[in-house]
């Protein structure tokens, strides 16, 4: 056998041992700072309180609400069906299953959206892909869903529709006893015109 080959084999084994000794990279699957920044610039992580209300009313099974405030706040008030994962526990391993469930839509919320976004950043570094933040948090929830303010009479139909939805949602979430004090007067009857369905039919 060629002597050179023996030496080469020896060198390879040495390199292999060297690899064994090398320190293990602790979190090889982490997102880089640059990836974090580009995720941060993507506004689709935010989900509005209206959308959350809609999903709750529809009993959407894919919605996973996560309250990142501490236990006391959670026990005082939280959204229906929300899980409590305080920010200091967000990295604990036993949440990972419920957070990394692929088909689900995890929505983090706090009183505002700062804490929720901090939790989101941490999970983002762990490369979770389906995490969202409820824009405005519970303060916004109370402002828009529980106690919606009536739009001015000059408001567009969309705004009035939204207000009607919020009123309904408010009744839904407070147990159905909330009195509807004022109806919007002079609600314009809108003529909905059917859109023409254009099916392009080929011909000769």
């Amino acid at each position: 056998m060629n002597k050179a080959y023996i030496v080469l084999i020896f060198l390879l084994i040495l390199a292999g041992i060297g690899l064994l000794v090398l320190p293990e990279r602790d979190h090889p699957e982490e997102a880089t700072p640059r990836e974090l920044l580009s995720d941060l610039r993507n506004p689709s992580r935010f989900i509005s309180t209206d959308r959350v209300a809609e999903m709750l009313i529809d009993k959407d099974p894919t919605l996973v609400l996560v309250d990142v405030r501490d236990m006391y706040d959670y026990l005082d008030f939280s959204l229906p069906g929300a899980h409590s994962i305080p920010l200091e526990e967000i990295l604990l391993y036993y949440w990972v299953d419920s957070l990394s469930f692929e088909k689900s839509k995890v929505v983090l919320f706090s009183n505002s959206d700062i804490r929720a976004e901090q939790a989101w950043m941490l999970l983002q570094r762990q490369n979770h892909k389906n995490i969202h933040v409820m824009k405005g948090g519970l303060n916004q929830w109370f402002e828009t869903i529980i106690r919606p303010t009536a739009p001015p009479e000059t408001a567009s139909d969309d705004e009035i529709d939204l207000y009607q939805f919020r009123k309904g949602a408010s009744v839904y979430f407070t147990g159905g006893t909330a009195a509807i004090e004022q109806e919007i007067e002079g609600e314009a009857v809108t003529v909905t015109r059917r859109k023409k369905t254009q099916v392009v039919e080929g011909g000769c």
Partner: protein, 212 residues
């Protein structure tokens, strides 16, 4: 084999050269975290890097040394109006080479960098990224530019819970819910949710295309 030694040395040399080239061309990330996730959680919970708007008023007014103000909004918003003495650095560019050098220089000179966006949220993410990379001298203005230009800044004329403390509950959640007559709203009603995966089936798009 006339010169076994020469052959052998050439072999080993090429071998070593290949390994060295491999190591050099390895893709090392240029930006790395100095803090683990666990350390970051502790830092975040401390809330030590928040600057109160009324404190910033003093810093701006008396041009206190050792502070740099960074405006994270777009150049367009910056031109329309910014806090006196602030430098514009749009969020997209905070990890650019030149800016990283700048942050390193600030850290070396122990200058406090106060960042602000249109609200606190806009500066929160960049702050967390830089913090995780080990830049400790970075702070965030509470309430952001919006509060600084509109809200009350006089310490004697401040409501009990100023509007920039956004994480404070703005309402008595429990009280409102009770008043509105809801019986079961508390977090306690945590029924074990069975998560059902609904496979979404794509609808076939049948566009009838006429032909001859």
């Amino acid at each position: 084999m006339k010169h076994p030694n020469l052959n052998f040395i050439a072999f080993v040399l090429t071998f070593i050269v290949v390994i060295v080239i491999g190591l050099l061309t390895l893709n090392w990330p240029d930006l790395r975290y100095a803090r683990s996730l666990e350390e970051t959680v502790e830092i975040v919970l401390l809330d030590e890097d928040l600057v109160y708007p009324e404190d910033l008023v003093m810093i701006v007014e008396y041009e206190e040394p050792g502070y740099v103000l960074l405006d994270l909004r777009s150049p367009y918003d910056y031109i329309k109006g910014h806090i006196k003495g602030a430098v514009n650095m749009p969020v997209n560019s905070i990890l650019d080479k030149g800016n990283i050098e700048l942050f390193k220089q600030y850290a070396k000179d122990s200058i406090n960098v106060i960042m602000y966006g249109k609200d606190q949220l806009e500066a929160n993410g960049p702050w967390m990224i830089l913090k995780q990379m080990g830049y400790d001298n970075i702070q965030v203005l509470m309430g952001g530019y919006h509060y600084f230009t509109t809200g009350p800044l006089d310490i004697y004329d401040m409501p009990e819970v100023p509007a920039y403390l956004v994480e404070e509950p703005a309402y008595d959640f429990y009280g409102i819910m009770e008043e509105m007559g809801s019986a079961d709203f508390a977090g306690g009603t945590d029924e074990a949710q069975t998560e059902v995966v609904i496979p979404t089936r794509r609808k076939k798009e049948s566009v009838v295309e006429g032909g001859c």
